[in-house]
Each structure stands twice: as C-alpha cells, then as structure tokens.
Amino acid sequence: MKDRREFLKEVAAGAVLIGSASKLGMAAVRAESVSAAKSKIVIARDPELHGVGTNTTAQPDERRVRNLLDRAIAAYTGHAKPIAAWKSLVPTDKVIGLKVNGLGSKGIATHPALIMAVAERLQQAGVKPGNIIVFDQNVHFLQSCGMTVNTDPSKLRAYSSDVAGWEDEESTWGVARIRLTKILTRDCDMVINMPILKDHEGAGVTFAMKNMYGVVDKPNTLHANHCNPAVADLNCIPTIRDKVRFTIGDAMSSVFDGGPGFHPERLWYPNTLLIGEDRVALDAIAWEMIERKRAEAGLPTLEADGRPPRYIAAAADATRNLGTNDPKRIQRVEI
C-alpha cells in the first residue's frame, strides 16, 4: 500500500504530465484543506432520459445517457470535446476505480448505461481497459449494476470486495473504525464515486459520502445515531479522502421514501446527473432534491420524520473540512 506522501507525489507527477490545469492536481491540493473558492457542481438534466409520457422505460436510453454525461463533463471542465475533458480529469496512466452502488437491487442501482459510458470515455481518453475497475461491496451488488466479475487485466475489470478482500489493519477516524477494501487501498490510484440518489431509513439521504459504506468490511457498525457522524468520519479516513476525488452521481432514477431498498411505488425519475469534486456540496444538493420530491408526494420532511442527514453539516465543520454545505459557497451549474 502506498503511503500518503508517495501517493501525493504520484498525483503531482500525473498533474505535470497532463497539464497544469489538471483537476487532479487541484484535488491534491484540496486534500489538505478545502479552498475558499466556490465548489462547482454541475446539475445536468435530460427529461426524456426514460422516454416521454406513458411510454417510459425502467432503464434510461443509452445514447441519451452518454450525451448527458458528455454535456455534464464539458460544463464541468470547460472542454467541449469529451476526450480533452476526460484527460483533464484523470491521470490516464493510472488505475481508475469506479465505485458503484448496487445495494438496492437491480431496481435502484447505479445504471449500467452510465457505468459503461464512463468506462468508454476513460478508454477513449487513453486509460487502458484493464486499468479501469468497477467495484462494489459484494458480487450481488455488482450484478445489480449489470456487471459480471472479470479480473482479467486485459479487459475492463469488475470485481467486489468479497473477491479482493479487506486490509487486516483497521483504519480509524473519529467514530469510524473499519477495515478498507484492498480494491481501494491497493488496486486503484484514483476512484470516481458513482453513487445513486436514494432516501435512507437511517441516514436520511444516501448519495456521495454514504456510498463509501461500500468500501468497508462492516458498514453495519456505522449506523448509530442516524449514521452521524460516522458518514463524515469515514470520509475523513485519508485513503478515502485522498483517492476518491470525483463524483459522477446518478440521479437518473431514485426512491424518495423507504430507501435504501427498492420500492417501485416510491420510485421517481429526476433524470439528472450531479457532478463535482466536493462531496459535501453534492450531498447538500441531493438532500434538497429528496426533500422537494417528498413535499410533492405529501410526505413529511426528513427533519419531521426524525432522520435529517446531519452528517452533511458534520462533514463541513472545521474539524473535518471535507467540503461545504453553504449554498453561498456552491457554484451550481444547471444545464
């Protein structure tokens, strides 16, 4: 396992290789402290992603998903051409993990069309297929995301922590005391977080930060007090904080109540991608989206339901400094 100093050195080297405007280089600096600048979050929508009117489908249209992703990445990076945009985001000679989320079963998992669109763009930007690893906690969750296990390094890889195993040594930060998956600690140089937006019976909302429960051996030990401050503390663990740099959040479909499991009667289609580096800002916006939909459905707020996601504010506090939940410090780019 690389230590933090070695890792940051590699990040810096990668940044030189891919240019001074590299987001990765910026992220390395941000690992030390969140800058005073606004956090940029792109909110990209396509209302026809799942079809129109009564002619809708459970899975979004693949071509539209790819277009939506391209528009979102272009808006984020300022590069109109996808390959240039992706080259500015990732070190193309490194191993890139895609942490997906299949816990809610096939009905509410990171969409296969989005995973494959990201993997395709990474390869077009120059990342070798075998240097892309799609992963989640266990084989069943991966299958829910449409993936089958493949460890052949000549192809796009997909495997889970129950295949790769966990570190023997515990990692700790605050109340988080867990063992990390070797996929994160050993196999990946950088991870793109690919959560799916859901209501959560315990935590209130699950999106960017909560998705990290899928990189630890026993997430059930982090559920006390509505997962607060466990979600925030978990994300402060240096390996997670440093390697999980960028989020491509799937809000193409979502459950607004009864999550994190799949309840089709509480499913809705926001048809949205949320993209950015600031995991706290992303979760703050995700919370707003869930509340807006709950109000529309006549449901109580998460506060009134006794489960507001307080871990978001905890993650933004001066001790953890993982990002911002202050609307004034979030630059929303809605497309």
Partner: protein
C-alpha cells in the same frame, strides 16, 4: 460387542437425537420458494440465499435495522423470471412473531395499493405484492412494469403463500 459400523451408526443416531432435543425441533424446515414451472410462466433463476438476523446487513444494509427491531429471525431471497421478460425478486422475512411481521407490513403498504386476499393481510401495487401470513412477511418486487405484471406477481405470491 458392537462392530465399528454399528458403533458409528449408534453414535450418529445419538448425536442427531441430542441435536433435535437441544433445538426443540418439531417440524421440518419450510421452503417457501416455488420451483421453476410450479407457477405458470415463472422460473426460479437463482439459488435461495438465507441471512440470519445478524447478517442481514449483507443483503440490505441500511434497511436491516428496522427488521431487526421488529424481531426478524431469518431472511430468504431468490430471483425469478416470468416468461423470459419480467425479472422479480421474492423476499421472505421470518419474524419472531406475527406482531413483528404486521409492524413491517403496516409500514410498507401506505399509499395507493389495493388490498388482496393473500395470507392474513396483503396488498398489491403495480410492480409489487406484499403479504403477511402468521410470522412470515413476503415481498415480491418486479424490476419493470408491463400490463401483465401485477397478475403475474399475484400468481407467484399465491404460490409462495401455499408453501408457507
């Protein structure tokens, strides 16, 4: 004097008798999952997975806590496919008592579902059927919706109910 084989048989019989006495075993284990073809059009596509209460997080993580609070003992799950084009999952939660099963059922069925005659209480939505029979809580969920989905799910639900 007992031969080796007879001795082995006697030890085995004694072990089984002690185990059964110790576990208070009174009835055989119920398998509530209809086999492929047992319900017209339905195929069972995966082996049944069973989770003890302490391991339920491995299946549903954040959802596990409220089942545990309601007294879940075991959870069994298996995937099904209807006529090659509709995927569904059947979850059977065996609770400690019927009150625990009712608690989960009541929390699950709010909304626009229609009551159905299944077990002690049941409700159907366009893409899901939930019912309780004694201490068993059954949820059947389809991953997509067609005009036939609800009828197909109800047929499968009756098949599960008959085996409980």
């Amino acid at each position: 004097m007992l031969s080796n084989n007879n001795l082995k048989a006697a030890v085995t019989a004694l072990t089984v008798a002690i185990f059964l006495a110790g576990t208070g075993c009174k009835k055989s284990i119920v398998d509530p999952f209809p086999a492929s073809g047992a319900i017209a059009g339905w195929q069972k596509t995966t082996d049944t997975r069973v989770f003890a209460s302490k391991d339920l997080w491995q299946y549903i993580d954040g959802d596990a806590d409220h089942y545990i609070q309601a007294g879940v003992v075991t959870t069994s799950t298996s995937d099904y496919n209807y006529q090659g084009n509709l995927e569904a999952v059947v979850d059977v939660y065996t609770m400690g008592d019927s009150a625990g099963a009712h608690k989960i059922f009541a929390g699950d069925v709010s909304g626009s579902g229609k009551g159905v005659s299944l077990g002690d209480e049941g409700v159907a939505f366009a893409q899901s059927v939930t019912f309780r029979k004694g201490a068993s809580l059954v949820r059947i969920v389809a991953y997509s919706s067609t005009p036939d989905t609800q009828q197909a799910l109800l047929a499968l639900a009756h098949g599960v109910e008959a085996k409980l």
